[in-house]
């Protein structure tokens, strides 16, 4: 098909271009935007109405003008060319190589928007991933095919935790081909470089595909980045049969880019200016995690987002939590007290926990033990809050024990080394050992036989 070129740009507003007199444009179509200086950027069609087409430019619109900008319609949506050779390579946020290596000779060109997985085709994720981190493995375990975000804040060590997970993750009793897809959206060079050197140091780089859109790269481009990355992940998982860990960081910058476009379109804003369709939009990213019946591979997602003002009810963490299968929440308070990893276990959650643990997966007492630790720690924290106001003396004897328990719990169970890789048995053993601080009658969540067996 001949590519049609138009010089009829009528308006440029923020990242948006309105072009008139266009024939045959399609919704979602990829366009080339040729700048007056001859450089070419990409964009796509947001809306078509008769001969008027609204385009979102992935490139900064600085330098564009109404008279000399050329628009070419490409007759298809944005695609990613894939082959096994993408492993070990670095791409920009739209999937173009930026590591100086050769162009990819694709086995297939895949639309980055993907199609929804048929719910009937899904297989329920149930393979426990041992991350070696007690606060995760013991209480909020990660399961292969899960989407489990890290809710963080500026200055908190989410990158170190994500790297530790990537480094230590193992599925018990299984040796299978795995890979990492890493998508950076709007983060700094330093943060991105931290991951890259981590992957290099552990030689994981050969099995990693990186898509990098940094803070000083075009903001609108990052709307495409997670989709490009997930297209690569789907290829690796469901065409090549690999177990893929996808790290998306930072989803907050992604959402801000989306807000920018929405504002430029003068859409009715939802909460805090984010568009009303943010939930649906995020779902089309997060729901691309999972397992599929009769397929070997899987996609496990760890999106990272920084909560503006550490506020969990901000629309970005809020809508994310409504879609993902739990969340790992970091606490500034624990971080200040020097506890690494500063995981706030109570509001954290793994919704796939029950299916991933227990007899034959981890251990038969895992579920009850974790419930007991949760409720004891919760009670201890409440007691400590009371003690802060009224003094230790205002607590009942049992509550004093609980208060002590919660301190020990943070110090021994949650706290661990960045390079400490605990087995699940070690994690559970610490848990049982901590419970010895409490009277037996308080242990209502664990079975008597389990107390006999594990609390020696």
């Amino acid at each position: 098909m001949a590519i049609k070129e138009y010089l009829t740009v009528k308006e440029i507003v923020g990242p948006l271009l309105l072009v008139e007199g266009v024939e045959g444009a399609k919704y979602g179509e990829l366009v080339e935007v040729e700048f007056p200086d001859g450089s070419v950027g990409l964009g796509n069609v947001l809306e078509v109405s008769e001969d008027r087409v609204l385009i979102q430019s992935f490139e900064e619109t600085r330098g564009l003008d109404v008279a000399n900008t050329k628009i070419r319609f490409r007759g298809r949506g944005l695609e990613l060319g894939v082959s096994r050779d993408i492993l070990g390579r670095v791409f920009d946020g739209l999937g173009r190589p930026i590591d100086g290596g050769p162009e990819i000779i694709p086995d297939a060109r895949l639309s980055i928007s993907g199609n929804p997985i048929n719910p009937y085709a899904r297989d329920y994720p149930s393979d426990f991933i041992q991350t070696g981190i007690s606060a995760i493995d013991g209480l909020n375990p990660l399961v292969r095919g899960q989407k489990l975000p890290i809710f963080s804040g500026s200055g908190l060590p989410h990158s170190r935790i994500a790297a530790q997970i990537a480094r230590q993750s193992a599925v018990l009793g299984k040796e299978e081909e795995f890979s990492v897809v890493f998508a950076a959206m709007g983060i700094t060079f330093e943060e991105a470089n931290y991951f890259i050197s981590e992957f290099k140091r552990t030689a994981a780089i050969e099995r990693t595909v990186l898509f990098v859109n940094l803070a000083d790269d075009p903001a609108i481009e990052r709307i495409a980045t997670p989709r490009v990355a997930l297209t690569a992940a789907e290829y690796l998982a469901f065409e090549l049969g690999m177990h893929v860990l996808v790290i998306l960081t930072d989803m907050t910058y992604y959402c801000e880019a989306l807000r920018e476009v929405s504002a430029a379109r003068k859409e009715v804003p939802g909460r805090r200016g984010y568009p009303g369709y943010l939930y649906t939009d995020l779902a089309t990213i997060y729901e691309r995690a999972g397992r599929i019946k009769d397929e070997r591979g899987s996609i496990t997602q760890i999106p990272i987002l920084s909560m503006p003002e550490d506020d969990k009810t901000h629309p970005i963490p809020d809508l994310t939590g409504y879609i993902t299968e739990g969340q790992i929440i970091l606490s500034r308070e624990l971080h200040r007290r020097g506890i690494y990893p500063p995981i706030d276990v109570l509001p954290s959650l793994s919704r796939l926990k029950e299916k991933g643990i227990g007899e034959g997966k981890t251990r038969e007492d895992h579920s009850n033990l974790s419930n007991q630790l949760f409720s004891a720690y919760a009670r201890g924290k409440e007691a400590k809050e009371l003690a802060v106001i009224l003094g230790e003396a205002a607590l009942s004897d049992v509550d004093k024990l609980y208060a002590k328990f919660s301190d020990e719990f943070e110090d021994r169970f949650v706290r661990q080394g960045e390079f400490e890789n605990r087995t699940i048995e070690e994690t559970l053993a610490i848990g049982w050992d901590l419970l010895r601080m409490l009277p037996r009658a308080e242990l209502k969540r664990v079975k008597r036989e389990q107390i006999e067996k594990y609390m020696k």
């Binding site: 078509v48 929804p116 369709y277 779902a283 729901e287 409504y322 009371l386 209502k444």
Partner: protein, 611 residues
């Protein structure tokens, strides 16, 4: 399928909304086919010769000039044998067959009948030629699953004498009977169609009065819902909405379950698909899937079909109600439905109301819940059927003042308010007992008096009062510390804690705890409260509070929720043990008191002597 007419053409595409021009005789809510791939859509606005269409599939690749076909019919569902055990998308396309046809991802433009065309069903006639029948009468039945007898009814508006009636193996499109009405002949097929946005007809509504027993203690005992009633369960993410909906789908004493996954997770539907064929219904002894229909329009599936999914679901529910069944429908989550409405409304550039929702949000929600109810069905046999609707609500940031929660609370009769504070402590179900309510309590309590135990209502009131008292005492403790409480108050706190931990808390993932019969709920609550009552007496008799708190029998009370349904007699023994061990303390206390009294007498005697 309805025949299609000539094409109009697209003039505009904006996300799920397409505007077309030149459609012949377009009517509101007519179904259309959009583009060369013939995507499904529905007309939702008409202006001059322009029709706005919400498209149920992804619109990428559509553009001006592409054709649009009208079908002349409204968006409808197919109703007949084969519904049970199915999984449909929001516009009733069978997801299992779609996978067979197009693979693991949902491709566009797939047309597939909802009911299998080739399968033969054994039709057993209940009426004979020459008999006269009218709308709603049952012509015959098909044993669709071991638990569901699918009743084939005379459609609304049809009456006359039976000219001919079949029996034996029939397909869903086959004629089962011919009804003669004057000189008109009606061919009644095994399946029928019904437009989803129109409520199905019934004779009259009657007030709900029987409890829908869900097996969840905090629901059934404290905030019950009646068959034919409406309930909502709002809560922030992770507070347990979906688990509650799944528990109701599993254990409710309804005949038919319709579960709508509306804009939520794909894996949650997978979970149902994997579990329900394995789990056994405590009432029928058959796998749960044999009474269940699933509608899955997950969050990543097209947003317009999400809007349609709740209507698809409730129309199927009404159809089974009309046969005389009690149907329970779960919609998880109605907020996603409302958001779909908002998104389409925004694209139509309608005037936004609160938080961008259209001004008609409240009326749409109300008319959806109004399709619940207990009814006298059409037909001369005085059948009663019901649809109970339980809607999950997902308020942004957990803030209940937002428009969807508020509009819902105005129409539903039961409110289960979930709280993340409880969920963080792993107190599940995280239903806040202080804010939740049920307006069916009176009806349900009269039923308990007849069928469970006449003490039950009073027992419930006492337990509720205890929990309320606890909240007041907690406030005092927060201000001045536990030392400020009297022994009696300390006991109240302990007893309330026992109600919370030993009765309210219920683990959905424990094989026994997941379901509790109403009889066992009564026994368990009586046991928990028995301790309190006996302990109060003991306090009066001078027993030390610490001795009461540390009684070993309290561990047995904590384990009582794990007593199996077939061993309910254990509760009597347990209650006796509670009473005995406290009496023991009382006896010892009064013995000590006597002894103390004597020695005190000696002391004062000697003191007196000293003077």
């Amino acid at each position: 399928m309805v025949e299609e007419r000539q094409a109009g053409e697209i003039v505009k595409v904006a996300g799920p909304l397409v505007v077309a021009r030149g459609l012949p005789q377009p009517r509101m809510y007519d179904l259309v086919r959009v583009g060369n791939e013939r995507l499904m859509g529905e007309i939702i606005e008409l202006r001059g010769d322009r029709a706005s269409i919400q498209v149920y599939e992804e619109t990428g690749g559509l553009g001006p000039g592409d054709p649009v076909y009208t079908t002349g019919g409204a968006l409808s569902v197919e109703l007949g044998p084969g519904l049970i055990g199915s999984i449909y998308d929001g516009v009733q396309r069978p997801l299992d067959l779609i996978r067979e046809a197009t693979g693991n991802y949902i491709a566009r433009g797939v047309e597939m009948p909802a009911l299998e065309r080739e399968k033969e069903w054994e039709f057993v006639p209940r009426r004979k030629p020459g008999e006269s029948v009218s709308e709603g009468d049952i012509l015959g039945v098909v044993q669709e699953t071991p638990v569901v007898e699918h009743r084939i009814m005379v459609p609304p508006g049809v009456s006359g004498t039976i000219e001919e009636i079949m029996s034996g193996g029939l397909k869903v499109t086959d004629v089962v009977a011919v009804i003669k009405d004057g000189d008109r002949f009606h061919n009644i097929t095994l399946s029928t169609i019904w437009p989803v946005r129109r409520p199905r007809l019934y004779k009259e509504k009657i007030p709900p009065k029987n409890e829908l027993v869900t097996g969840q203690r905090v629901i059934d005992t404290f905030f019950p819902v009646a068959m034919g009633g409406t309930a909502c369960v709002p809560g922030p993410f992770g507070s347990g909405k979906t688990v509650i909906q799944h528990e109701i789908a599993k254990w409710a004493n309804a005949d038919i379950i319709i579960f709508i996954g509306c804009g939520e997770r794909g894996n949650e539907m997978t979970e149902v698909l994997l579990e329900f064929p394995e789990l056994i219904d405590p009432y029928s002894g058959e796998p749960l899937m044999k009474r269940t229909v699933l509608i899955a329009n997950t969050s990543n599936m097209p947003v317009a079909a999400r809007e349609a999914s709740v209507y698809t679901g409730i129309t199927i529910a009404e159809y089974f109600r009309d046969m005389g069944y009690h149907v329970a429908l779960q919609a998880d989550s109605t907020s996603r439905w409302a958001e779909a409405l908002r998104e389409i409304s925004g694209r139509l550039e309608e005037m936004p109301g609160e938080e961008g929702f259209p001004a008609y949000l409240g009326t749409r929600l109300a008319s959806f819940y109004e399709r619940a109810g207990m009814v006298k069905c059409l037909g001369s046999d005085e059948r009663i059927g019901s649809v109970t609707v339980v809607g999950a609500v997902s308020p942004p940031g957990g803030d209940l003042s937002e428009p969807v929660t508020q509009a819902t609370l105005r129409v539903v009769k039961v409110f289960w308010g979930l709280e993340d504070r409880l969920a963080f402590r792993r107190h599940f179900p995280a239903i806040n007992w202080l804010i939740s309510y049920s307006l069916y309590l009176d009806e349900v309590e009269s039923q308990w008096i007849k069928e469970v135990n006449k003490e039950f209502p009073e027992l419930r009131r006492e337990a509720m009062a205890l929990l309320q008292r606890e909240a007041e005492l907690e406030e005092i403790v927060r201000l001045v510390g536990i030392e400020a409480l009297s022994s009696a108050e300390r006991l109240t706190m302990e007893a309330a804690r026992s109600v919370r931990e030993d009765f309210l808390q219920q683990n959905a993932f424990d094989e026994i705890d997941t379901y509790t019969s109403i009889k066992k709920q009564f026994l368990l609550l009586r046991l928990v409260m028995r301790f309190y009552k006996e302990a109060e007496k003991a306090l009066d008799a001078g027993v030390d509070i610490r001795e009461l708190i540390n009684l070993p029998v309290r561990e047995d009370i904590a384990q009582a929720k794990f007593i199996r349904e077939e061993n309910l007699s254990e509760f009597d023994e347990l209650e006796k043990r509670v009473a005995d061990s406290i009496n023991e303390l009382i006896k010892r206390a009064s013995a000590e008191e006597e002894a103390a009294g004597e020695s005190a007498a000696v002391v004062s005697g000697s003191a007196g002597a000293d003077e």
